[in-house]
Amino acid sequence: MKDLSMHILDIAQNSIRAKASQICIEIEEKPDADQFIIRIDDDGCGMDAEELAKAIDPFYTSRTTRKVGLGLSLLKQNAENAGGSFSIHSEKNKGTQLTAAFSFSHIDRPVLGDIVGTLMILFSSSGEINFEYRHKTPSGEFSVNTSEINEMLDGIPIRTPEVRKFLTDYLSANLEQVQISE
């Protein structure tokens, strides 16, 4: 994965596959404490203790199309290579929460990258799922969720070109206000 926005897109797909109806993605930049934290919470089908233990094993996957499952292990590896840590909690039928913490100033911390692109892909395909995105930094906080957007749109799909363009601009402009790192 080239940047963190790709990891987020990848991990969010796990939540979608777990049939979550609420997926929350949170990024917290704390340069003073030298931390960059990504949290992803969902209320999907979750995993029992046995599955959870295997989840970060790159040779374990619940898919049948291939025999490896690298998503979580790559994120864990990236976090640990950048002086951070990775943790995941899950409860069967309740949901899954994961946290990847990076050292903010570490040279090996990947950049956040095109988070707007990631959010647009997730939002456009959200359907019944409510996506929530929060970005906290010392300069402020920005949050957005798809149920609010859909309420405004009153039945018009997010993937409509005009709406996509507006949302892309909206997300970029607002993130620019709070985001510190690249």
């Binding site: 994965m1 897109l9 797909q13 199309t65 291939r66 892909i121 996509r164 507006f166 909206y170 402009a173």
Partner: protein, 131 residues
Amino acid sequence: MTKIKTLADLKRIRDEVQSKIKLREQGDKPDKLVQIKVSMATCGIASGAKETMTYLIDELEHQGIDAVVTQTGCMGYCFAEPTIELTIPGKEPVVYGHVGKEKALEIIEKHIKLGEMVDGIIPVSYKTIDE
């Protein structure tokens, strides 16, 4: 400083597109549209499926082609990512491998517009006698 947009502006967009949307929906049903599924699992994303998907959406809109671009899971062709599944209405779905921006444009220009298949198809839609 530019004025920061708020979600309230979405209402304006909604009113603007509402009339257009009605026209679009009456004219065609989803199963009559070109459908593209971009494989968007770890393997796909790591190979650039995100750029491919954004490019496809933008280019199709730019050219005024009505198509539905959605994401799907890993189809098992991790060696050929990014992969897309293209369904032209009334035809069998076709899976293309190694779809970067150039390939995506070629597929739009030739396959979607002219109906000519291009290189890079992964043969998947064959059927065995059991099916």
